[in-house]
């Protein structure tokens, strides 16, 4: 399904094997806790086994769903807190004129090509998931949801494979439950901070920030690691210089 990178959020929850976790079991039980392998499309249709889960069948279900409008958008950001911990920010927006809506949201930490990928089947294996519960969206307003995520050593060794998924579905306690919107970002994450070069948070990127960055040169975390890649280096210096002046 790599043919539709901008239309698809695909993740692989394991159950009943060494790579299952609390969230994957809960999510599986949310549906029926019985059929596996099974592809659940937008929380609605369960395609069981290789026959129903054939490429053409999955593609048709995806195209059917894409044709149905939605009124929810999701933007995802990630900012380094310390070591291997990031603050993930999800900004949900319900279109103006829509009815006030309650949703149930999940955040998922995935690793591409995990647990292994000998035949291309194991993409975006779920490392850990967070059921962030029920949230109320107001029309024309942004709702900000944040969650700290600590990546394990295995993920940290393959940072380019780290993915963060997020989705909002019907506020139900069991499936099927329609997914209104889904999103996924890859590491390194876009920053939620509109002015990351402003290290001392005084509203302007200036000499004080430059000196702070130089003093932290080589550090592996902290606000001086502007791009959040785990090292204060030339890339951070260049970004700071590019943001020189008043913050937006």
């Amino acid at each position: 399904m790599g043919d539709y990178p901008d239309s698809l959020v695909a993740l692989q929850p394991h159950v009943g094997d060494n790579w299952a976790n609390t969230w994957t079991w809960a999510r599986w039980n949310f549906y029926d806790g019985y059929y596996v392998p099974r592809v659940q499309v937008d929380g609605l249709v369960g395609l069981v086994g290789s026959g129903e889960g054939s490429y053409s069948n999955m593609k048709n279900h995806m195209l059917d769903r894409l044709a149905i409008p939605t009124n929810v958008t999701i933007e995802l950001y990630g900012d380094l807190v310390e070591n291997q911990t990031y603050l993930i920010t999800a900004v949900l927006y319900l279109e103006e004129g829509a009815a006030r809506e309650q949703v149930r949201v999940h955040l998922i930490d995935c690793l591409f090509d995990w647990p292994y990928n000998t035949d291309g089947r194991y993409n975006n294996g779920v490392k850990q998931g967070f059921d962030l519960g029920y949230q109320t969206l107001n029309p024309g307003e942004e709702t900000v949801i944040q969650q700290e995520v600590t990546f394990d050593g295995e993920s940290w060794q393959s940072q380019d494979d780290i993915r963060i998924g997020f989705y909002a579905h019907e506020p139900l306690g069991s499936g099927p439950a329609e997914v209104y919107q889904a999103e996924m970002i890859a590491w390194p994450f876009p920053s939620y901070d509109m002015c990351p070069g402003d290290i001392d948070d005084d509203g302007v990127v200036d000499t004080a920030d430059l000196l702070a960055l130089l003093a932290a040169w080589g550090n592996t975390s902290g606000p001086e690691d502007i791009n959040g890649d785990g090292l204060v280096n030339t890339a951070d210096l260049l970004q700071l210089l590019s943001e020189w002046g008043q913050c937006p």
Partner: protein
């Protein structure tokens, strides 16, 4: 013929309004483009 011209003129604002409406509708659709979630439940053998 004069009547026809007047009718044509009166149709211009209507056409513009329809065009603007279509553009707004298009932008609204783009603002909330759906991404489809595939949860691929797997049990490795």
């Amino acid at each position: 013929m004069r009547t026809d011209r007047r009718m044509n003129r009166s149709l211009i604002p209507l056409g513009l309004a329809v065009l603007a409406g279509a553009m707004l509708a298009t932008s609204a659709t783009e603002a909330a483009q759906r991404k489809v979630l595939f949860e691929n439940f797997t049990m490795a053998g």
